[in-house]
Every structure is written in structure tokens, then in C-alpha cells.
């Protein structure tokens, strides 16, 4: 549909503007909220591309879980909460150079790539298909990620437990 194209432009613009806000806002809580807008825009683009499952998981995990934890951490930390602080330090020129290099590489590869030029409407992938794909062909990387998460979890508990003993 015609209007879908403009909605995608709208979401892309919202995503980029709020992402810029995340790195420039002087208030950490505002940065967190803008990150939420950015993640929500990504979910909107997923939805328009037919990746319904991915969009729902994006909202549930990234916004409903991780973003809330980030906001929670900002509110708990009095050094960064409620103050306007600069988001740059001595290393800003190096980080600028690094991010410009990444931008250049990505732009070059996007320009080089031949994208399919047909205009077939994207197929909606069901949750069942996504599940079969993960648990048949990609079971090994999936399990590896699970072990990684488990290790992080155990590590977090160890660190929290050590602090309690003192």
C-alpha cells in the first residue's frame, strides 16, 4: 500500500532522531527514554516488513525488559540521575574516528550491494516457522547463547553475593 512507504519513512526518521538524542541528551533519564522511542520505531519497521514475531519480541524483550532495567539503574544511581552531565570524555576524537570508520564501511557495502528490485509484499513469518527455524537448523548457536546468558547470570549472582558478605 502507498501509505506504508511513508509510515516507514516516519519510523526511520523517528529512529534516527531519537538515536541522536540518546547520545547527545545531557540527562541520562532522557537518554533512556529516547532509546525507548528508537527501539519502538525499529519494532514498527519490523511490523511493516511482515516480521510480526520479531516486532513483538523486540517490544517485549528490549523495551519491556532491558530498557526498564536501564531506567531503573539510572534512577538508583544518584551520581548520574537528576543531573546534566556531559556525554563526552577525553577519548571523544578516537571514538568519533572509530564510528566514522564504521559508518564509511557500512555505507560502502550498502552502495556496493545489489538489492532485489522487485516489489513483492514481504511474507508474514509465523511464530511456528520462526521456532522450527531456530530449533532445527540453528540449535547449536541458540544453545551457545543460552550458556552465555547462564554464565552471565551466575556471574551476577556471585558478584552480588560477595557484596552481601562484607
Amino acid at each position: 500500500m502507498m501509505i506504508d512507504k511513508y509510515i516507514i519513512y516516519f519510523f526511520s526518521a523517528a529512529m534516527i532522531i531519537s538515536a541522536l538524542g540518546v547520545v547527545t541528551a545531557r540527562n541520562m533519564f532522557h537518554s533512556g527514554l529516547l532509546l525507548g522511542v528508537s527501539l519502538l520505531s525499529v519494532a514498527g519497521i519490523y511490523l511493516l516488513m511482515g516480521a510480526e514475531f520479531l516486532a513483538a519480541v523486540q517490544v517485549l524483550v528490549y523495551i519491556g525488559g532491558i530498557l526498564i532495567l536501564i531506567l531503573f539503574a539510572v534512577m538508583l544511581t544518584h551520581k548520574i540521575c537528576d543531573k546534566s552531565i556531559a556525554q563526552t570524555n577525553k577519548q571523544k576524537f578516537w571514538s568519533l574516528a572509530a564510528s566514522l570508520a564504521v559508518f564509511a564501511i557500512l555505507t560502502a557495502s550498502i552502495i556496493k550491494t545489489q538489492f532485489a528490485s522487485n516489489t513483492i509484499t514481504p511474507r508474514v513469518v509465523s511464530a511456528a516457522e520462526a521456532g522450527l527455524e531456530i530449533f532445527s537448523g540453528n540449535i547449536l548457536p541458540f544453545e551457545a547463547v543460552s550458556v552465555l546468558l547462564l554464565a552471565a547470570l551466575v556471574g551476577a549472582i556471585m558478584m552480588a553475593g560477595r557484596e552481601n558478605e562484607k
Partner: protein, 349 residues
Amino acid sequence: MKYIYDIRLIFDFVFSLGARLWELTGLPLWLYSQIKIVVIGSILLGVISLAVMFLIWLERRLSAHFQSRIGPNRVGWQGSLQAVADIVKLLAKENITPANADVVVYLLAPMVVFAAAFMAYIALPVAPRLVVNNFSLGILYILSISSLGVIGILMAGWSSNNKYSLIGGMRSAAQMISYEIPLVLAVLSVIMMAGSLNLSEIVASQKNFFDWHIFRQPLAFLIYFVAATAEINRLPFDIPEAESELTAGFHTEYSGIRFGIFFLAEFANMMIVASIVTSLFLGGWHGFGFLPPIAWFLIKDAFTIFTLIWFRWTFPRFRMDQLMNLGWKILTPLALLNIFVTGIRMFIK
């Protein structure tokens, strides 16, 4: 089974008539579909607001009876117009913004909370085919959209620049993150039994009385009900707004209609929880004949809401550590065990 009062037929008729008339004007068709979205959204908003007004009256009357009082009975028949009078009062009140508040976040917070509650209704089927958008991922969509409400509560708590609001907001976030896990796990075991994420299909799988998931998944039902009561911050889990210690929690500084929007969102969330309980566990619109499906749905919904109100005026409030213990040490392991047993049972079959 066809009823003369199938509401969906009325909607279909009106919208196809509208499309015909629209074609006569020669305006582009995509504009019509956008107008249709706005009209459906307004109808939904109206229905929710009316239902919330009824619920406010019901809760006040019921709580009064639980405590051997009479409750509001002056405005209208048996006080039924009390909620209307309250809303007029809230609209007429001054909207105060605290001097040191973060104004933009402060003003956006109630909207975020309400939008999250309101958007969940889009995927909710109340009768066969009577749903705004029959998402194939219905229940997953509702769970993910309603998890956005916490952000609004955090925004309200932080931007008010008030210690009670801040503590209320943080408690609320901690509670919602903790209880979201057993809640989703309890829903998962029902999804395993039904073999679908679509709410219409989950309801369709409970056609016979003994196929209702409350009989096939009693533990999941209990876990869901407890976790959902905590998710919507109602007693015995209303620690985020515990009056005796936090005045009013995250919405302490809000007044006038902004407070009203928080209130509206709270009741809208309560109806969503009751509707999910009805759809997942109580067989949705399936009944015993003689009444249209939507009536059965509303009867079960009303009964669930009555139970939630009953909880509120019966149980004393939990302490914060008790709440966390219940969520992490009892409900989450039980929900995981339930999934495990369900999986084995399905594997053997």
C-alpha cells in the same frame, strides 16, 4: 450458530456502506481506511471509558458492602451516576505541575500509561470475529504492549521530583519485572496446550466445558491470577501506591484530569487482565447456549473483575520482601515446573 444480534455483522454493514459512499465522492481509498481506523479507535475508547465508569461505581459500592457501609447512593439510581460526577469534578480541577518537575516527561507519563493499556484491547476477541485486528500473535502482542505501561509509571515517578513518587515508581518497576516472568510462563503452558498464540484460536480450543484451561491447567490459572493481580498493582500487591507509607505512590503529584487518566488506565488494565483470564482459562465466549457469545464473555469477565475487587477488600498488603520472595522463589519455579509437566504430558500423548 448465528445470532440476530451479531455485532460484527452491523460493523461490516456500516463500513461497506461507508466504502460505497466514499467511492461516490472520488477521494482516495487509503484515506477511507485511515478514517475507519480512527472511528474504530474512538468506539473502543468510548466503550472502555463507559465500562470504567461502571467499574468505579461497582468497586465503590462493593467495597462499601464488604465493610458494612452503604457507599455512594445519592447521584442517580443507587448512585450509578457518581462516576460521571467524579469525572466532571476532575475535569474542572486545576492541573498542577510541580515547580521542579521535568515538565515534558511529567506531561507525557499519563499518556504513555494509558496508551499501553488502551492498545492491548486491539487484539482482544470478545465474540467470534468481533475483534479489531485478529493478530496471529494475539496474546504475545497483548503481553508486550502492556509491558510498556511500566515505562510510563517510571516516567511519572521520576519526573514528579518527589521522594514518594520516586519510591513508588521504583517499587512498581521492580514488582512488574519480577511478576512478568511467572505471568508469561503461566501463559506459555496454556499456549502449549492450545497450540496457537492467536486468542481466537485459543478460545476455539476450549469448546467443551471440561476443555476449559482452568480444568486442564489449574496451576497455570492460579499463577496467572496472582501474577496478574501484582502486575496491575492491586491489593494485596499495591505496594507501589501503598497509601499509608507513600501517600499515593507514583501519581502523588498528579491532579485533575491527569490523575483521572492514571485512574482510567488502572481500570482499563484490570479489564484487560480479566479478559485474558476469560479467554485463556474460562473458555472465552463459549457458554451453554441460550445467550449470545458476547454475553457469556461479559458474564465471565464481570465475575473475574468481581473476584479482583473481592481480593482487594479482603487481603492485607504484602511487605516488599514478601512480595519478591513470592514472585521469585514460589511462583517462578512453580511455573517452570508446570511447563515441564505439561511438556511431558504432551510428549507422552
